[in-house]
């Protein structure tokens, strides 16, 4: 503690109960985390000093951005030093001609895009949480978003990262241009969920704004027909910029808020965004319209202007806000399946949820097979969390059995650690632990996360299992 106060301004080192409670959880359903001292460094040197002080006192450290993670990546186990980066929020440099920017990790995703307004460039990863999540968090979770279908998830947009390694040393991984020199340590670091070190400066790739954008709304009388349309679009060799699905429950919930004109009697709608140059976009609008009709779409609406486009997207992006009206709590799962299995697996999810007597809303990145079943519940209801977790586990099992993976963008954190062996053999996991050990030989960086072999975190449980009012 005194080492930390000496390294940082005392006002930026906190141990009060309120702060410790605040930083004991993230946006996941996990509760019962225990934060130690909380630090708010503002420079790389201070981050390094925090790490050195933690390790010198035999403490683990956990780095945190905005705390919007959904897998418990930033949930502290056994009172680690918490390193919160929200005050490292400067955009350091924008190089328009080379299409890159250097930012500090605490920069909020949307703030970078706003800052770039008028340059004709943008930062492509657009998680639904972009109003609050940090770019450091995006890098750590290799986050995605609707437009990552065409443009790729965060890793494809990170050129270089300055990292404070778990021994306090500072290295720059990657380079501003081109392929890696030697090992792609940058690529290995991205998606490390805070277990490989701390990103303190990030060089991101900026993407040209497309000259032409078209947003389509397709509506279907069955989820299966919508899912088959998704597969057909991909099979026809088209990769839209975004391809999202919302089921009836989502549409009904959001329509009153946004008045986008979504058909509330449709079983599912697809939002398809096409971008690029005018002729290519026009051609794809036509081909997708035809495919949709052959697969039973009731209507295909092409947004006539920017206002209509925005309304269509607003509905998609406000889905999380709208659900609060239905139930106070939600558990958002995240798995990926082969795109050809969409119809089958989505049907199965409805059955699973039915069996557990829960409510599910499906709003997800259909184009890359990334499912996001959103289970709604009221944590005050006796025994409901058990049913939520049972449904969640079954969804993961069904996804893996269909040839899919545990997570497409939210990461493993604490939430899915125990499922790692569903997807990976002991040998696979052993090799992953070798990567981790090279970065963090002493296991000080967020040790309880990602790999099942890591430290356990017995005091963390799921929402609803704790006595009422234990944590706010």
């Amino acid at each position: 503690m005194s080492d930390l106060v000496a390294a940082l301004d005392p006002e930026r080192v906190q141990v009060g109960d309120v702060a410790r409670r605040l930083y004991s959880r993230d946006a996941s359903v996990l509760r019962g985390g225990r934060a130690g001292v909380i630090c708010f460094p503002v420079t790389t040197a201070e981050v390094s000093a925090c790490v050195v002080a933690a390790v010198a006192h035999g403490r683990d450290f956990v780095v945190r951005g905005a705390g919007t993670g959904l897998a418990g990546g930033a949930v502290p186990c056994d009172e680690p030093v918490m390193i919160v980066l929200t005050r490292m929020d400067r955009i350091l440099e924008v190089d328009e001609s080379r299409r890159l920017a250097w930012v500090e990790p605490g920069v909020v995703n949307l703030d970078l895009s706003r800052h770039l307004g008028g340059t004709g460039l943008h930062f492509a990863p657009d998680p639904s949480s972009q109003q609050s999540c940090t770019i450091g968090g995006n890098v750590a979770n290799n986050s995605g978003g609707p437009h990552c279908l065409l443009y790729g998830v965060t890793s494809a947009h990170v050129l270089a990262v300055e990292v404070v390694l778990p021994d306090g040393e500072v290295v720059v991984l990657g380079n501003e241009e081109g392929d890696s020199v030697g090992y792609d340590l940058r690529g290995a670091f991205v998606g490390g969920e805070g277990t490989l070190g701390i990103a303190t400066r990030i060089c991101v790739r900026l993407t040209e704004d497309p000259p032409e954008v078209a947003t389509l709304l397709l509506d279907f009388m069955s989820v299966g027909a919508a899912a088959e349309t998704v597969s057909a679009i991909i099979a026809a060799g088209m990769i839209p910029a975004a391809l999202e699905m919302m089921d009836q429950r989502v549409v009904e919930a959001v329509e009153p808020f946004v008045n986008a004109g979504y058909p509330t009697d449709a079983a599912a709608v697809l939002i398809v965004e096409l971008d690029g140059q005018p002729a290519g976009v026009a051609d794809e609008i036509m081909r997708i319209g035809e495919l949709a009709s052959t697969h039973g779409a009731r209507s295909v609406r092409v947004a006539a202007d920017e206002g209509e486009r925005e309304r269509i997207w607003k509905g998609r992006k406000s889905a999380f806000g709208a659900i609060a009206v239905i139930k106070p709590d939600y558990y958002l799962n995240d798995t990926v399946i082969p795109r050809t299995k969409l119809a089958e697996v989505v049907e199965r999810i409805y059955e699973i949820v039915e069996e557990q007597d829960l409510i599910v809303m499906n709003v997800f990145h259909a184009g890359d097979g990334n499912l996001h079943p959103l289970l709604l519940f009221d944590a005050r209801e006796e025994g409901v969390m058990e049913r939520v977790l049972a449904a969640g586990e079954e969804i993961v099992r069904v996804s893996v059995a269909a040839g899919g993976v545990l997570s497409g963008e939210h990461g493993i954190g604490l939430e899915k650690k125990r499922f790692m062996s569903l997807q990976f053999s002991p040998a696979d996991l052993e090799v992953q632990s070798r990567l981790r050990a090279a970065f963090d030989p002493d296991g000080r960086a967020n040790p309880a996360k990602v790999l099942p072999s890591g430290a356990s975190c017995g005091h963390v449980t799921s929402l609803g299992r704790l006595p009422e009012g234990t944590w706010v």
């Binding site: 081109g178 392929d179 030697g182 051609d283 082969p338 497409g408 997807q423």
Partner: protein
């Protein structure tokens, strides 16, 4: 690993668990990073194992040549964002880790690899990554393997992301600054500059390409043969060496000879050394090669 694939098991047992060993691909880049140094040479499985146009993925033996793969994919109007000289293999191109000339359109080579079925230094088979186009489950071993020159694991079989072949593509060239060409085009597939002339590869829908061709004609660019590039590579430092051609935006110079070792900080070299030792404690995988001996 998919159970029952005899070729993978044969590859594993060929690699074994002792003695210096490396994979020989097409040997088009055999001297890169230092050479085999007498290590036992094994071959990776050959052939396309599962082509799924509707998933836009392909599972292929790492010993398959890029040409054979491209031929199969073309039947379905697909391609992979990889490139290499005649005879080079999928595994070799990934191990060397150099992005295709069309990287501005097809992306970096690191983004092509979804899953790799490998044999580690201990002779044990393992899988890195996963079969789906989106996946953040666990650590990104695939990215670490790309460009590792076979020093961390030997790759037997991979799943790659495919993409649609562009409808139309055309090379133009003229004596113009590359920045002007970039301003006048949208996502050109490649922009090359030899110090005087800029060459640009345009791809997309026919009418869109025609439109850009027209715009560029006004700047003085005309249709041209694809440029012939020297076999060596160096990193762009602000000056073009004799006979060098800059790949604009990629930081790579195509030049007669490879340039010398890059400048890398000691911290990075230490981390890399820990990585290599962690994956291959006895130093049996490609002992003669060092990924840090080449600049680009």
């Amino acid at each position: 690993m998919t159970v029952g694939d005899g070729r993978m098991e044969a590859f594993r047992s060929e690699v074994g668990d002792s003695g210096a060993v490396c994979v020989r691909g097409g040997a088009t880049r055999w001297g890169v990073g230092g050479g085999s140094a007498g290590a036992r040479e094994v071959s990776a499985p050959v052939g396309i194992m599962a082509l799924e146009p509707a998933e836009m993925t392909v599972m292929v033996g790492a010993g398959t040549t890029l040409t054979e793969l491209a031929g199969e994919l073309a039947v379905h109007g697909l391609e992979v964002g990889m490139d290499g000289p005649q005879g080079s293999t999928v595994g070799g191109a990934l191990a060397v880790g150099r992005s295709a000339l069309r990287r501005r359109r097809v992306g970096q080579i690191a983004d092509v690899l979804l899953q790799a079925d490998c044999v580690g230094a201990d002779g044990v088979a393992f899988t890195a990554g996963g079969p789906t186009v989106k996946n953040v489950t666990g650590y990104d071993l695939c990215r670490l393997l790309v460009g590792s020159l076979g020093t961390l694991a030997l790759v037997g079989r991979v799943i790659l992301r495919t993409r649609p072949v562009p409808v139309c593509s055309v090379w133009l060239a003229g004596e113009v600054e590359p920045d002007l060409v970039l301003e006048a085009t949208y996502r050109p597939a490649s922009v090359l500059w030899d110090g005087a002339r800029t060459s640009v590869l345009l791809e997309g829908h026919g009418a869109d390409v025609d439109q850009m061709v027209e715009t560029l004609a006004r700047l003085g660019l005309a249709a041209a043969e694809p440029p012939v590039l020297a076999p060596g590579r160096g990193r762009w430092s602000g000056l073009l060496p004799d006979g060098g051609v800059l790949e604009v935006g990629a930081g790579v110079v195509h030049q007669p000879d490879d340039s010398g070792p890059p400048i890398v900080s000691e911290g990075v070299l230490n981390l890399a050394a820990r990585m290599r030792a962690s994956f291959d404690p006895s130093g049996r995988l490609n002992p003669g090669r060092d990924p840090y001996s080449r600049a680009a």
